[in-house]
């Protein structure tokens, strides 16, 4: 999983594709694989009750589980729903294309970690993974943050932060009025109720969130706390090995596949 790339990638895609894409479905596509699942991966507490997946990694990336949201076919399916819902109106094509590109960018980014994604589901449940940084979602969100910002994951995010800054023109007021607004009538509709500064802020929000969060977590992990850096392939090695549920013995009789 990535902590800032999913916020930053849509702006770089926007810079290259201009009015052929719309930023809102691009961002929704980029967030969609984790949108409804991440809270259950990390777990939440409501008084004495804790809601958390029994096997967070399996739930997040596997099948059975919600791992289908990280498949290329999932993006195509939602894109097709946009096309059908639009009934041939021009916004349908732009929304479908934007969503698919955003969702595919998320899937391809998540290939970088050690658990990978079922990229070709439903044709295959095999995981595609580069194994560049350790998946640590099962450890909870704080250790996950410490691990991600100690391995190559934060470098990958840093590439997108740097590339986003290189494309700074997409954040300007002139670009917003000339390219973002004409590509999506939703902005004009929202402009009836909200002032321009708020619309511009909403447009820039994910860029702001991705960049500031990338800096903040890096400082948090290495200055406020002392998580050790491990920029080796597949690091950090200090993350406890992930125990996969065994298909023969069931959950808990796991074996280390990392």
């Amino acid at each position: 999983m990535s902590w800032a790339a999913h916020d930053m990638e849509p702006y770089s895609i926007q810079a290259h594709m201009s009015k052929r894409v719309a930023i809102i479905p691009l961002l929704i596509g980029s967030y969609s694989p984790d949108f409804m699942t991440k809270w259950f991966v990390y777990g939440v507490n409501y008084g004495p009750f804790t809601l958390k997946a029994e096997d967070p990694e399996q739930f997040h990336r596997g099948w059975p589980g919600a791992g289908f949201t990280h498949a290329l076919a999932y993006g195509l399916l939602i894109g097709a729903i946009f096309l059908l819902a639009s009934r041939g109106r021009p916004w349908g094509k732009v929304y479908a294309l934007s969503f698919v590109i955003g969702q595919w960018a998320h899937c391809l980014s998540d290939i970088g970690d050690t658990r990978g994604v079922m990229l070709f589901f439903p044709f295959s449940t095999d995981r595609v993974s580069l194994g560049a940084w350790q998946y640590a979602g099962q450890t909870g969100r704080y250790t996950d943050a410490g691990a991600y910002f100690s391995g190559l994951g934060w470098v990958w995010d840093g590439v997108w932060v740097a590339y986003g800054l290189f494309n700074w023109r997409v954040l300007t007021r002139a670009y917003f009025h000339a390219t973002i607004v004409p590509a999506d009538g939703l902005w004009v509709w929202a402009g009836r109720y909200l002032p321009e500064a708020v619309l511009l802020g909403i447009y820039r929000a994910s860029f702001f969130y991705g960049t500031t969060r990338w800096i903040a977590w890096l400082i948090w992990a290495h200055i406020r706390y002392a998580y050790p850096f491990d920029l080796g392939w597949g690091g950090p090695s200090w993350v406890e090995p992930l125990l996969m549920s065994c298909p023969c013995c069931g959950y808990g009789a796991g074996f280390d596949t990392s």
Partner: protein
């Protein structure tokens, strides 16, 4: 009959920071978000919280200051 429906969002309100002033405002709000977030991590977990923090800093507070001054 000509279609008079708007094709753009409204123009900026008078007194809205522009150019370098606007960039500086975002940088200051971003630095504040980072500084607070390092000690109150809960602020860093939610996109909605981050966006509301940013909108408060770059739009709400400057607008209130402008109105108080005028």
């Amino acid at each position: 009959m000509a279609d008079d429906s708007p094709t753009d969002v409204p123009p900026p309100e008078p007194g809205t920071p522009m150019g370098w002033q606007e960039l500086l405002l975002y940088v200051v709000v971003g630095a504040a978000y980072i500084a607070i977030g390092i000690f109150f991590e809960i602020l860093l977990f939610s996109w909605l919280t981050g966006t509301l923090f940013m909108l408060a800093g770059v739009w709400l507070v400057p607008m209130l200051v402008r109105r108080l001054r005028s």
